[in-house]
C-alpha cells in the first residue's frame, strides 16, 4: 500500500507536467488544426531563460519567473509569425514540417548560445520535501500539482466565463463565421500561440529543478504529452489534463510492476491501443459526418 501511494504521488506529479504541455498542444490544435512538433521547446526555452535570469544574473526567483514568462509571450508571437502564420492556408503537412524545423532550429540555437552542459535550477522551496506517514512528498512535485490545479481552474474560468475565452472558442470552431461577427481571427490565433507558449513555459520552469535544464528536456516531455493528447482526445481541454495524469500514472506503475526499461513503451502502447480502438480519445471528439 505504501508503495502504491508513493507511486501514485510520483505518477500524478510527472503526469501534471505532461498535462500542462498537452494542454498547450490542444489549444494550438483547436485553434489551427495543426500539431505543433515544437511544443516541447516552449518548455526548454523557458527553462533556459530561468537559468539566465535566476542563476547567471542572480535575480530573485519571482522576478526571473515573470521575466521568463514575458520572454515566452514574445517567443509565442515570433513563433506564430515565423512558423505558422505564413503557412496558414496550406495543408497540415507543410506546417508539421515547419514546426519540426523550428524544433531543430531552437534546440541547436540554445546549444550554440548556451553550450551543451545541463544546468541546475534551484527548487522554489528550501525544504526538498517531507514524509506523510510512509509516503515522501517532494515539494517541487507538490508545487507542480498545485499549479496544475490552479491553471485548470483558471483555464475553466477563462474559457467559460470571459468574452475573450468565448471568442477564442468561436475562432477555433468556425473561423469564417467568427470573422463575420467582427472577431479578429488573426489576433485570436496570436493569443492562442502566446497562451500556449506561456503554459508550456510554465511547465518548463516548474520541472527544471527536477529534470535539470538541458536542450533535450523539451523533446522528451513533448513526446509523452503527445501521447497524453491522443488519450484525452485532440479536441478536448479536459481530456488533455486527464490524459496527461493517466499517462503519468500508467507509466509509473508499469515501470514498477512490469519493466523499467520499457517504461516509454507503455506510453506508446497505450497510445496505439487508443488509436486503434478509440481514436476519438477518452471523451470523444465531436466529428461531424461529412461527405
Amino acid at each position: 500500500m505504501d508503495l502504491v501511494l508513493q507511486l501514485l504521488f510520483t505518477g500524478i506529479g510527472i503526469g501534471s507536467v505532461y498535462a500542462l504541455v498537452a494542454l498547450g498542444f490542444v489549444l494550438i490544435f483547436r485553434a489551427t488544426n495543426v500539431v505543433n512538433f515544437a511544443q516541447g521547446e516552449f518548455s526548454m526555452v523557458a527553462a533556459f531563460l530561468m537559468v539566465i535570469f535566476a542563476v547567471d544574473l542572480g535575480w530573485p526567483y519571482w522576478l526571473s519567473a515573470l521575466l521568463s514568462l514575458g520572454g515566452m509571450a514574445v517567443y509565442g508571437v515570433i513563433f506564430n509569425l515565423g512558423v505558422y502564420y505564413p503557412l496558414r492556408h496550406r495543408t497540415y503537412l507543410p506546417v508539421i514540417i515547419s514546426t519540426i524545423g523550428a524544433s531543430i532550429l531552437v534546440t541547436n540555437t540554445m546549444l550554440a548560445l548556451y553550450g551543451p552542459q545541463p544546468q541546475v535550477l534551484a527548487p522554489v522551496f528550501e525544504t526538498p520535501g517531507f514524509n506523510i506517514g510512509p509516503v515522501y512528498l517532494d515539494s517541487q512535485y507538490l508545487l507542480i500539482i498545485a499549479v496544475t490545479i490552479v491553471l485548470v481552474a483558471f483555464q475553466y474560468w477563462f474559457f467559460e466565463h470571459t468574452l475573450l475565452g468565448k471568442k477564442l472558442q468561436a475562432t477555433s470552431q468556425d473561423k469564417e463565421m467568427a470573422s463575420l461577427l467582427g472577431i479578429p481571427v488573426a489576433a485570436m490565433i496570436m493569443i492562442t500561440f502566446v497562451y500556449s507558449a506561456l503554459i508550456g513555459g510554465l511547465a518548463g520552469i516548474l520541472v527544471a529543478p527536477i529534470l535539470f535544464v538541458s536542450i533535450q528536456m523539451g523533446g522528451t516531455i513533448a513526446l509523452k504529452a503527445f501521447a497524453a493528447t491522443i488519450i484525452g482526445g485532440f479536441g478536448d481541454v479536459a481530456g488533455a489534463i486527464i490524459g496527461g495524469l493517466a499517462l503519468g500514472v500508467i507509466e509509473t506503475f508499469g515501470a514498477a510492476y512490469v519493466s523499467v526499461p520499457y517504461k516509454d513503451g507503455f506510453a506508446f502502447l497505450v497510445l496505439v491501443l487508443f488509436l486503434v480502438f478509440r481514436p476519438q480519445g477518452l471523451f470523444g471528439e465531436r466529428v461531424a459526418e461529412k461527405a
Partner: protein, 381 residues
C-alpha cells in the same frame, strides 16, 4: 535522374577534394598530424569539449618537449555529431588525409564499433576510450584502449564492496545502453564469481524523467550496497536525489560517471559519501596531479576521465612514434605494444596484445563534494 547523380557525384568529389588539396599543399611535411573524432554537436557535445581540452594540453606538452621526430604536432578534429554514422563519416574524412599518422577515437563504444571497419582499412593506430571489453577482441590490430575496460570496472566495484566495505546484499542499477548493460554484466559476473548473487538488478532507459519505481524496488529488496552504471549525468542526478529522498542510504559504489564534474554539480549533496570507480583520480599519482593542474589552468574546472584519456592518448601516440623513430604504422604499433610502465594521468600503461593499456581502477569517495582518492585496485589478468 542519373544526370543529377553524376553531376552530384563529380561535383561532390571536386568540391571536397579542392580544399583538401590546398591544405595538403601548404602544410605538407611541416608538422606531424593526429586526427581526433570528437562529438561537437549532439547529446555528448559537452564531453567533446573536455576531450578536446585534454588532447590540447597533451599536445602543448609534447610540442614544448620538442614534438615528435623533431616536428611539431598538430591535431585535426572532426565532429561525430554523437551518432554512429557521424563517427564513421568523421573518421573516414580524417582518414583521407594522408598526413595523419594516428587517431584519437571516441569514448563511446558503439562509435568505435562503427568506425572499426574503417580503422582496419586505414591501418593506422587509433587510441580510443570506449570501455566495451569486446572492442579489443575484434581482431583489429589498430585499436588501443586508453581506459580500463568495463570488465575491470565491474571487478573493482565488486572487490571494493565485498572486501573493503564487507557488504553482501547487492543492488545494481544500470542504463540499458551498451555501456550500462556491459557494466552490469561485468559487475554481476564478478559478484557471482565471489559467490554473491545480487538481490536486485534494475535497468532503465536513458533520459528517464523519474526513478521512483527503481528506487522502490531497491528499497523493497532491502539492499545494503548499491552498484551502478549511469551514462548520462542528468539521469544520475535525478536518481541520486530520489534515492536519498525515499530513504535508501546504503553505501553506493558507482561507475565513473558518479564522480564526473557535471554529475557533482547536478546532484549536489545527494551524492555525498558515495564511492566511484574512476579511471582518473587526481590524487592517485603525481602524473594525474600534474594533469589536473594544467587542466584547471586552462578550463577553470576540475578534470575528469573525459579529458584525462585523450591527454594520455596523445602522449602515448607521441611516445610510441618517437620510440619507433618513424611514422610507419606497423612500427608505431609495435612500439606501442612494447611500452611498459608508461605513467599517464589515468594510471600505468602496459599494453597487452589485445591493445588494452590499463588493467585497474582507482576507487574514490565523494566527501561533501570533494573527490578524495581512496584506493587503487589493479588486476594482473
Amino acid at each position: 535522374m542519373q544526370v543529377t547523380r553524376r553531376v552530384f557525384t563529380s561535383g561532390l568529389a571536386a568540391g571536397l577534394a579542392a580544399p583538401a588539396l590546398l591544405r595538403g599543399a601548404q602544410a605538407q611535411g611541416a608538422t606531424i598530424k593526429f586526427g581526433q573524432v570528437v562529438p561537437i554537436t549532439g547529446p555528448a557535445a559537452e564531453a567533446g569539449k573536455y576531450a578536446m581540452a585534454g588532447a590540447k594540453i597533451a599536445l602543448e606538452k609534447v610540442n614544448k618537449a620538442g614534438g615528435v621526430l623533431g616536428k611539431q604536432v598538430e591535431i585535426v578534429t572532426e565532429d561525430d555529431q554523437t551518432t554512429n554514422p557521424g563517427a564513421v563519416l568523421a573518421f573516414s574524412k580524417l582518414a583521407t588525409n594522408a598526413d595523419i599518422v594516428g587517431f584519437i577515437g571516441s569514448i563511446r563504444s558503439t562509435q568505435v564499433h562503427a568506425m572499426a571497419p574503417d580503422i582496419l582499412k586505414t591501418a593506422k593506430p587509433c587510441m580510443f576510450g570506449g570501455t566495451d571489453p569486446t572492442l579489443t577482441k575484434l581482431g583489429n590490430p589498430w585499436l588501443f584502449r586508453c581506459r580500463p575496460n568495463d570488465s575491470y570496472s565491474g571487478r573493482v566495484i565488486a572487490a571494493y564492496g565485498l572486501e573493503e566495505l564487507k557488504l553482501k546484499k547487492w543492488g545494481i542499477v544500470h542504463s540499458t545502453d551498451a555501456f550500462g548493460t556491459n557494466g552490469m554484466k561485468a559487475l554481476a559476473g564478478a559478484l557471482e564469481a565471489a559467490g554473491v548473487k545480487p538481490v536486485v538488478i534494475q535497468g532503465y532507459a536513458n533520459q528517464s524523467q523519474d526513478f521512483t519505481p527503481v528506487v522502490l524496488a531497491l528499497k523493497q529488496a532491502g539492499i545494503d550496497v548499491l552498484g551502478s552504471y549511469f551514462t548520462f549525468e542528468n539521469d544520475l542526478g535525478i536518481f541520486a536525489r530520489q534515492l536519498r529522498q525515499l530513504g535508501v542510504n546504503a553505501p553506493w559504489v558507482g561507475s565513473p560517471s558518479i564522480v564526473n564534474v557535471t554529475a557533482l554539480k547536478l546532484a549536489g549533496p545527494a551524492l555525498y559519501n558515495t564511492f566511484g570507480v574512476a579511471d582518473y583520480a587526481e590524487d592517485s599519482s603525481p602524473e594525474a596531479k600534474a594533469f589536473a593542474d594544467a587542466y584547471r589552468g586552462m578550463m577553470k574546472v576540475d578534470p575528469d576521465n573525459q579529458s584525462s584519456w585523450t591527454y594520455d592518448a596523445v602522449n602515448l601516440l607521441a611516445a610510441a612514434i618517437n620510440k619507433a623513430g618513424k611514422t610507419d604504422p606497423q612500427a608505431v604499433r609495435e612500439a606501442m605494444l612494447s611500452i611498459k610502465g608508461f605513467k599517464g594521468a589515468e594510471g600505468e600503461y602496459n599494453f597487452d596484445q589485445n591493445g588494452d593499456g590499463l588493467h585497474g581502477y582507482n576507487v574514490v569517495q565523494n566527501k561533501s563534494g570533494k573527490i578524495v582518492f581512496s584506493k587503487h585496485i589493479e588486476f594482473k589478468d
